[in-house]
Symmetry: C2
Amino acid sequence: MKIGVFGTSMVGQAISGKLVELGHDVMVGTRDVAKTQANIEPHPYGFPAFSVWQKEHASVKLGTFADAAKHGEVVFNATNGTGSLEALKLAGESNLNGKILVDIANPLDFSQGNPPSLSVSNTDSLGEQIQRAYPNTKVVKTLNTVTAFLMVNPSLVANADHTLFVCGNDADAKAQVTEWLKGWFGWKDVIDLGDITNARGTEQVLPIWIRLFGVLGTGMFNFKIVK
Amino acid sequence: MKIGVFGTSMVGQAISGKLVELGHDVMVGTRDVAKTQANIEPHPYGFPAFSVWQKEHASVKLGTFADAAKHGEVVFNATNGTGSLEALKLAGESNLNGKILVDIANPLDFSQGNPPSLSVSNTDSLGEQIQRAYPNTKVVKTLNTVTAFLMVNPSLVANADHTLFVCGNDADAKAQVTEWLKGWFGWKDVIDLGDITNARGTEQVLPIWIRLFGVLGTGMFNFKIVK
């Protein structure tokens, strides 16, 4: 399947790496291709520059956001949440219309230091902002409550016995994404919260996620809903 | 132990009912004692009016917020979050000074309908507001991420194999409250998130909690941190 992935950082690398491993035709989108290719410095968080990572994942293509959007029958938004709307604008509405957009981004605002706050929350969410801006795109919010490598390999923690959430306005798109989450990545427990306004719920999980990351000393954890 | 419990609703009933069962000397605080005693209408959510409930729990005393604060060596804040600061003002700072205040309240704002938003969130929290307003009280935020009856009986779900969070500025107070949570109520997995600013994390769990309550059709669930 032809898939576009917006974002070259840890989440973009995890998603696109897994998708090519599964045999998909993946193009990663970035703002400035030449700049992304020229950068070889590891990120302060420890993951490699995309250009370095790509040498080990040569089948992953790189293009502009518009190139990746045109390429993808489905698109994953793995950009930093505070830059997502700008990235989507560069991708172009006509390149996104009618497609499923799997929105993984969180609107984390590090401008006041760590832990970050959310740049949109409570009475709105990034997922809703994206859906409003692209009414003909089927936005499905998911994967944003777990760390990058767990997104595509949930069995790294507790034999995948933990929970993922999806929400979005289009029932068929949600069902399709849920099938991918289970079939491609190995998720077992996926809870459909309802329409895209429920992104307010999952994005507001990030404040406690980040604090738990600090306390537990690892991002390799998740929430399991027990009842 | 002499304990004050602010709030006559479901949470106040669950906490005070359990505490008297354990042999403690409990006074529940309310704004208007006569009004609370006169009201016999069940709450729309299905729990009984305090006056009706109290007939089955005759050892639970009722007084003003100030009476309950004076009575308690420790105080539980089980008021509605949007009314907590007003309740504490009525209780009186001098009646709270030096004491542990276990803050269970969530600042849920139902003014725009259901699901509620939070009246304070993201860059502040109710827990912090209370701690700032009562600097000589040891505020420990906990129990606010589970439904009332689970607070005092976590084994009602999955043999208590799920997680509770505490945060607060006073390490001794947190250790004491954690001991009570385990010894009195039966909590097994209690994670200390750090100082009271971490109440931003646990209070912002409510938006997804409320949505899960809708999807699961029960409040008898909890988050388990798996790693």
